[in-house]
Amino acid sequence: MQFEVFRSSLAPNFPDGAVLRVLGDLDMAGAPRLRNAVVSEVGAGTRLVVLDLTGVDHLDSTGLGAVVGALRRLRTHDGELRVVCPEPRVRRVFEVCDLDRVLELHVDVDTALEGMTVQ
């Protein structure tokens, strides 16, 4: 049913930064669309992606795969991924797979950007 990835720029503070806000279920149906969105960002020169999963109701291993894929793609291009995931039930999926040890999960976009050097 509804699945959307909304983009907003982080300029001027982070000219090569963007927030991708996912709305809907991040499963085998939604994950390819997140993957496409990340591929276009990196292709367009974005190097800091804040992935905001606040609007995600359901996350499963296929969705996790897309998040891990985003991390890897950004790192390969010397970029960075920050994940916003305030909802305990969605955090839990990262935790069960030990992925909270690879990815820091933040409660909101501002917190995710804390400590980043404004460019």
Partner: protein
């Protein structure tokens, strides 16, 4: 004119057949979540976290079933059978994929491994084993049945 309800008999299963397409996953989760509450007038036997876990493990099993059927181009519908019981819910996912050897599926690679990031998949079975109280795999060249048991607290 209005025949009456038959005397009580054992809980029966709800069966849902879906085309092997990811856009039906959400429907499967909704059905599985709703089946837990069927016929209960008071509280649900699982709290929201328990229902989320049940929806998650079923979603994993159906995702695998869809991928398995795609791998051999099998258009058959996938069956999701839910049997809510007094003490537990049992969900079976039946596909007509090629089958597989569960012993050859590695458990999670250690997460600190840099190579972990090379794998975008391979978490489904681990999630099922960790979150369901029972995960039974019956598999062969004709297809696979994954039986997931979630006990009520």
């Amino acid at each position: 004119m209005n025949p009456s309800r038959p005397a009580d008999r054992p809980v029966e299963a709800v069966e849902l057949f879906i085309p092997p397409l990811p856009e039906y996953l959400q429907l499967v989760r909704a059905v599985v979540g709703a089946t837990v509450g069927v016929g209960r007038e008071d509280e649900l036997p699982l709290d929201p976290g328990g229902i989320a876990d049940l929806r998650l493990v079923v979603s994993e099993a159906v995702t695998n079933a869809i991928e398995a059927q795609w791998s051999i181009g099998a258009n058959d519908r996938i069956l999701v059978r839910c049997r809510p019981d007094q003490k537990q819910t049992v969900v079976e996912v039946v596909d007509r994929g090629p089958g597989f050897d569960p012993d050859l599926v590695p458990d999670l690679p250690p997460v600190e491994d840099e190579e972990r990031l090379d794998h975008e998949s391979g978490l489904g079975l681990s999630l099922m084993k960790r979150l369901a109280d029972g995960t039974v795999v019956e598999t062969g060249p004709g297809g696979t049945i994954i039986r997931l048991v979630v006990e009520y607290p």
